[in-house]
Subunit: 402 residues, 2 copies
């Protein structure tokens, strides 16, 4: 079977040739860590995915240009300020961050990516940030991955990081990653950032393909509140220091790399959902039997946006009528009399109406902190899964503002 | 100017020739009123609009057939059970409701429409309903409009009814209406039902046109939680007893009828929003300067669905970054650097970034229980308005389930 191995206390510095740092620069008023730096000791092939939001934060705009250069040596990250909707000054500030990082590490600015998360529309305290970068450069170390993961947290309640190893082309390679999820220091966007490192040598186009695919099946399959942020960024650096012969998309071992990368990003995506803002339940939602995959996705995403459905999950109420209702208005093709709904395999709806299963049995499932919901439309082969959570009173309190 | 006059204590029985009743039949366990009947003394031209949800409740399916007959004499309504996702038995039960009403009033079943609201997926207690219809038939009276309005309430905190008069073709005509909004006896769908009556004589196709237009600009311009119910229905009966010559769409006075009908439905729509589940603020949201009306609508509806935006309204926090973010992912065309945002005319965003207005001044607006937000995209002439409310902790508690 798979030789995939999880590394104990894994982080972005688990692969060979990566150093990191995480410090408190003073962007956050409460003194918590707010800046991180991840650096590869030698040239690394870069790949990245960015938010699809038309309004992109300044660091996203700049990083989208820099990634075109192909070689990435460092990623500078901050929490406490999104540097979004900040106009030309915001772009200048993001540039300063890459230039300052490059200067201190003797790199070209173009080899540095920048990621920010925090409140939108507030100017960057750029002098504070500049001093933070100087401090980070001094603290770079191979055992500092955990501090970097802590420094990108906003109101995440735990750091999200892991590393996995697998053998490709006869060499053991390692992939490490850190991510931040749905949280805010000031009430803010649910920004998702992730930085992935690997010592594998992977042909650049294969690397981009593997990242795009893994992001689509992990971070793009979670929903906390249906809001797509201005700042979402996932960066991957591959420095080749594991010493494997260059892995191409055509090689049989490429599947092993893809599987390991996907497993790692899925692990982090689940951590993000489990640490969703003030949630009490995690639901593995699957729509199958849809007329098309696009239809299955429509229903899953409409359910993930419904405050009525998500409130009932909070209360442990198997109110399947709300699922039927959302499926009906989602825009997907549906035939009411064919719909079956299961909670952890227990059938609640059969042919569009209540199944003979006693409601108490379904309630025992919905009372649990984590369960699956499967909606089978019996129309075709369209299939889509999404990891979601409930809507709680505390979420509203948390996001009300100062 | 307009000679439109609001009628004191107006109801569905304000127009000539309508009787109504509202009683407790026992569908609701708490003894509150749960069945209503509205009857025209003579043949009335009917018009109706129904939910666009693909999953339609049994009463909706049946009423969609009956309205094709053109002549409607009565509408039988119940709260406490939606009769949705109830299969063939649900259809049979809805038929029983129209047949029983027709039998007692010496009408044809086809001249009766039926509306239900309540929890989805629960069989109708049809014997209780049958006894309720018998009781309603005995209580029909011209001064019973208010009781009918009370009987369609679920967790609405006040009944929603009004009546307006206007002179067309030299005769004073009256339009009355009752509606129910977003509430639930058992946690349930936010179903919207409305019954409109008029003694005007209006050419049937003009009547349908006027209703469709008025519904589009009133009930279709409000959003409590973004969920479109399986049961939404608006019915209009016009019996011509005011004695005006038949009003056609081509006649200059048709505009007066349309204006009066629209004013009435807008009044009821605002009542529904003001009585939205556990809300604390009402926001008149307007998107203008969009590349198209469809784009303006996309942004307005995405904002109405965003839990982050709606939570910040609850807290009185002018977190305009969240509005920018939603506009960016809504799918509408947008140029960040052109966007202006105003709260009650106070400019918070100018050219996509914070305006020089002190934040405290914007906060004085967002602290109010009702205010306007205007987002001007400066791209074209697309314009769309929506009446929305905030998301509160109490909404979640209310919808969590038993």
């Amino acid at each position: 079977m798979s030789e995939l191995k999880w590394i104990k206390d894994g982080s972005v510095t688990s692969p060979i040739g990566f150093r990191a740092a995480g410090i408190s620069a003073g962007i956050k008023k409460n003194g918590r860590k707010d800046m991180a730096l991840v650096v590869s000791d030698c040239d690394a092939d870069g790949a990245a995915t960015f938010t699809t939001n038309q309004i992109k934060a300044a660091p996203v705009k700049l990083s989208m240009q820099h990634i075109k250069g192909g070689i990435i040596r460092a990623v500078i990250l901050n929490s406490g300020n999104a540097n979004a909707c900040t106009g030309l000054q915001g772009i200048a500030d993001a540039k300063t961050m890459t230039e300052e990082t490059a200067r201190l590490l003797s790199l070209k600015p173009r080899q540095v990516l920048v990621c920010s998360t925090g409140r939108i529309g507030v100017p960057m305290p750029i002098d504070t940030v500049r001093r933070g970068i100087a401090k980070l450069a001094k603290k770079l170390a191979v055992d500092n991955g955990h501090n970097a993961a802590k420094a990108i947290m906003t109101t995440d309640t735990f750091p999200k990081e892991a590393a996995v190893s697998v053998t490709v082309l006869g060499k053991r390679i390692v992939i490490g990653a850190m991510a931040k999820g749905a949280g805010m220091i000031h009430p803010n966007m649910a920004t998702m950032l992730a930085c992935v490192t690997t010592d594998a040598a992977v042909e650049p186009s294969a690397l981009r393909q593997a990242l795009a695919e893994a992001v689509d099946l992990s971070f793009n399959r979670i929903s906390v509140d249906g809001d797509t942020s201005t700042n979402d960024t996932v960066v991957l650096m591959a420095n080749g220091l594991a010493g494997n012969a260059l892995l191409t998309a055509a090689h049989p071992d490429f599947a092993k790399f893809r599987t390991a990368l996907l497993a790692l990003l899925k692990k982090l995506a689940r951590m993000i959902i489990e640490d969703g803002e003030k949630i009490t339940r995690v639901i593995d939602l699957r729509i199958c039997g849809a007329a098309s995959a696009a239809d299955a996705k429509r229903i899953a995403e409409a359910i993930a946006r419904s405050p009525l459905v998500k409130s009932s999950w909070c209360g442990g109420d198997p109110n399947w009528g709300r699922l039927m209702d959302v499926a009906g208005y989602s825009g997907a093709k549906i035939r009411e009399e064919l719909v079956d709904i299961y909670y952890d395999g227990v059938q609640a709806v059969k042919g569009g109406i209540a199944s003979p299963t006693p409601l108490a049995k379904v309630k025992r499932v919905t009372a649990k902190p984590a369960f699956t919901i499967k909606i089978d439309l019996h129309l075709g082969r369209g299939d889509y899964s999404l990891l979601v959570n409930d809507l709680t009173e505390a979420y509203v309190t948390f996001n009300k503002g100062e």
